[in-house]
């Protein structure tokens, strides 16, 4: 009964979303307050019914209702409660439901925190968000209903893919979706502004904090995914340029460009149409990312042929959203005039260059990700793009981006003079380059250009950022939270680059054949393999190896990597064991049992890998700080009221 209620709630939500996408727009066009007023309550009602549907599906998971097809495919009797709750978004149908739930949460937040905005604009924004919601609800109801029953109901279900049974991965999709869907706010604002035909800097000022929040969630979401891959996949890598990863990375790159471009538009009124275009692009890539990962197109493009309804719907939806918004953009953006003027050596130019570089990177990822799909779809052949392509592209992009990141924040808006900053910049440049190139020599008595340049780039970013901070402090300038946020986020980039450079240059990775009682040296550590034992977990059995780690004559730690067999499908699964610290990780993963108690084992020494995720955390904290700027929000309110009074006058 409850699943049917959930299904029914979805249908009601669908009906409400249609009303919410049409009525407020008519109201806005005719300037009828009663129609405009429909938007807010409709958004709230939609959240209520989608929430009910979501609760119904969660309930089905918790009480083991295997008569629901989706539950029986992704849960079983022994699955721990936590993974029954996260099992809801473990696959296609449920993750769509999570997606619309998050969308309606964002919609209601926008409605709640924007009482100061003109009602007409609000009505348009909420209508655009409802259109997106309509698309997703229709997709679910007509092709991917999570509440579909099976008869007869099985006694026990399949289980959630054991790989997904990890706390990091349980919260990874919601975080990622908060980011993806969060970009819909900037998108809705851009489209609403285009619809209204009045594209001033207001929309940028207003959508800026929302975009930053979304970007923070996306940053953390991607970092969590990388962290999970490192912990769970047993390969010890942190990024694989897998299409699934690329799908989340593209919106991040464009989103990063967007938050920088929004800064220019908000502060100086420049790049208005460019920023609108970025907002459309960021959200389109978020949609593409959602569908690429969840629709099965990656497993096989021919999956679309076996279930054409889904494929056709997705393509049509993407075409409507992307094509529609771009058409609107082409039609309306001609009227946009950017009033700000700036010289070529200015903050504006630096931010524009930042955008160009980030978009180049996004384009490189897009080509590498979609090309194999296109080739396969046309039956030309089966290819894949190797990891070195992406690595090369990103080393190419990283150098100009790092250079720019150091100089950009030091340049003044509107126009500046290179001579003003040239002495400081040149000094820092030489210091970082020399130190960076010397460091590999100190670490390993060996010159290494790649490593040296990476470290030099990180130093350059850190030193220029700190120099700017200290000169502001010494001039007793007040530091706004948004400035502090920028400093922390940029230091995060430096930390990230250090982590990537050191891990890629100095990791030791070995596949070993280990016999009980023997010991193996990796970097400066001795791994003593004591043997294996059997252990029993909540829903699996495992062989667990015991490894002591010695550094010189001192025992510094123990590792217990496992080979698990989950009760559901009987699949073996590797559970790596990691001795973590800020400066190095020691990592062991069991392969398979060979002969006489010997095992194959993968052993890694990973220096400073933690800095990669630490850098991401810094970036996200920077973003949160930037939004927390109260002064900023007050000026928004103030400026808006000024603007409104002017336009009314």
């Amino acid at each position: 009964m409850i699943p049917e209620l959930g299904h029914f709630a979805l249908i009601i939500a669908f009906a409400i979303s249609i009303v919410q996408s049409v009525v407020p727009l008519i109201g806005a066009a005719r300037n009828e307050a009663s129609l405009i007023a429909v938007a807010r309550p409709a958004a709230l009602a939609q959240l209520l019914f989608i929430g009910l549907a979501y609760a119904a599906l969660t309930h089905a998971f918790i009480v083991h209702d295997f008569s629901v097809l989706y539950v029986s495919e992704h849960s079983n009797l022994v699955q721990p409660l936590m993974y029954r709750i996260s099992g809801v978004w473990g696959s296609h149908e449920g993750s769509l439901l999570l997606w619309v739930l998050i969308l309606s949460i964002w919609t209601v937040s926008v409605a709640a925190f924007s009482r100061h905005l003109p009602e007409i604009l609000m009505a348009r924004v909420l209508a655009v968000m409802a259109m997106i919601s309509t698309g997703f609800l229709a997709f679910m109801l007509f092709t991917s209903n999570p509440f579909e029953r099976i008869f007869p109901a099985p006694l026990d279900g399949n289980e959630l893919n054991p790989l997904l049974q990890d706390p990091g991965l349980a919260i990874h999709p919601p975080m990622l979706y908060m980011g993806y869907v969060g970009f819909s706010v900037a998108f809705a604002f851009a489209v609403a502004a285009l619809l209204g035909g009045k594209l001033d800097a207001t929309w940028a000022r207003w959508s800026r904090p929302w975009t930053t929040v979304a970007w923070c969630f996306l940053t953390i979401g991607i970092a969590l995914g990388s962290w999970w891959a490192y912990n769970e996949l047993g390969w010890g890598g942190w990024w694989f340029w897998d299409p699934v990863e690329n799908a989340s990375f593209m919106p991040w790159l464009v989103g990063t460009a967007l938050i920088h471009s929004l800064a220019s538009t908000e502060k100086r009124g420049v790049f208005k149409s460019w920023t609108v275009l970025l907002a459309i692009l960021a959200f389109s890539l978020s949609l593409l990312g959602t569908f690429i990962v969840r629709s099965g197109v990656l497993v096989s493009v021919h999956a679309f042929a076996t279930d054409p309804a889904r494929g056709v719907f997705i393509l049509a939806f993407l075409a409507v959203v992307v094509g529609g918004s771009l058409a609107l953009y082409a039609w309306r953006s001609g009227k946009v005039v950017s009033y700000g003027r700036f010289q070529w050596f200015s903050r504006e130019s630096a931010l524009l260059l930042n955008n160009i570089i980030l978009l180049t990177a996004a384009a490189a990822v897009l080509v590498g990700t979609l090309y194999p799909l296109v080739v396969d779809a046309f039956g030309i052949g089966k290819i894949s793009v190797g990891r070195p392509y992406f690595d090369t592209m990103f080393s190419l992009v990283a150098i100009p981006l790092a250079l720019l990141l150091g100089i950009g924040p030091a340049i003044r808006w509107k126009g500046d003079n290179w001579a003003r900053i040239s002495r400081v910049m040149t000094t820092i440049f030489i210091v970082s380059l020399v130190t960076g190139l010397l460091l590999p020599f100190l670490i390993e008595d060996e010159l290494n250009l790649g490593t040296g340049l990476g470290l030099a780039a990180a130093l350059w970013i850190a030193l220029t950022t700190l120099k700017d901070l200290f000169s502001r402090l010494s001039h007793k300038l007040r530091l706004s939270p948004s400035y502090a946020g920028m400093v922390i986020a940029h230091l995060g980039v430096a930390i990230f680059i250090v982590g990537v450079t050191i891990t890629m240059s100095y990791s030791v990775e070995k596949d070993l054949r280990v016999a009980p009682g023997s010991s193996y040296q990796i970097a400066d550590y001795d791994f003593h393999f004591q043997g294996t034992r059997k252990v029993k977990g909540e829903n699996y059995l495992a062989d667990e190896a015991v490894i002591e780690i010695w550094s010189g004559n001192e025992k510094t730690g123990e590792l217990f990597p496992q080979k698990r067999v989950y009760s559901g499908k009987g699949n073996p699964m590797t559970d790596a064991s990691i001795d973590k610290s800020l400066f190095r990780d020691l990592y062991a993963a069991l392969g398979e049992e060979l002969d006489n108690g010997a095992w194959s084992m993968r052993v890694y020494y990973k220096p400073m890998i933690r800095w990669i995720w630490l850098g991401c955390i810094f970036m996200a904290i920077g973003g949160v700080l930037a939004i927390s700027d109260r002064r900023y929000r007050q000026t928004v309110r103030q400026k808006l009221t000024e603007k409104l009074s002017v336009s009314r006058a």
């Binding site: 160009i356 180049t360 793009v385 190797g386 596949d511 590797t574 398979e592 060979l594």
Partner: protein
């Protein structure tokens, strides 16, 4: 330089930068395209000798053999029409087993042995890598046509 020519220089620099990035990118792209071949295609000599590529098929039952005291593994891969031998040193993925569809990346040796740098088996026992599924289908098709006397 006056303002206008400065702006021109900036625009030219940006265009040049993006152009350079595109050229370098496309070169890297071209070099890193990995093609996929089936055992039948490899037996027919269609696969490159010097380049690395990917091959996929089913692991033949009873063909997996290990060298004692090392991590060297050898196994046969088939698309049900032709069979070839693959050699790999290291740890095989969790779901590698006989009868399973796998994809290997590596290069062909002059003696016809495929030496893999990487072996992939996806994490689901029902799941068949799409390349392997298509390879099997193609081989089956050829066999049918042969039986009906078309070839």
């Amino acid at each position: 330089m006056n303002k206008r020519s400065r702006r021109k220089v900036l625009i030219i620099a940006v265009v040049f930068g993006v152009g350079l990035a595109t050229v370098l990118g496309l070169t890297a792209f071209q070099e890193n395209l990995l093609y996929f071949y089936t055992p039948t295609q490899i037996k027919a000599g269609e696969a490159p000798q010097s380049h690395s590529f990917r091959v996929g098929g089913l692991v033949v039952n009873g063909s997996v053999s290990r060298e004692a005291g090392s991590l060297k593994v050898q196994f046969d891969l088939t698309d049900n029409a032709e069979t070839m031998t693959v050699q790999y040193t290291g740890i095989l993925p969790d779901l590698f087993r006989e009868g399973q569809g796998i994809v290997a990346m590596g290069s062909l040796q002059p003696n016809g042995m495929f030496v893999a740098d990487e072996v992939l088996a996806k994490h689901d026992e029902n799941y068949m890598p799409p390349e392997v599924a298509d390879a099997l289908k193609a081989a089956e098709q050829t066999a049918k046509e042969r039986a009906s006397g078309k070839i």
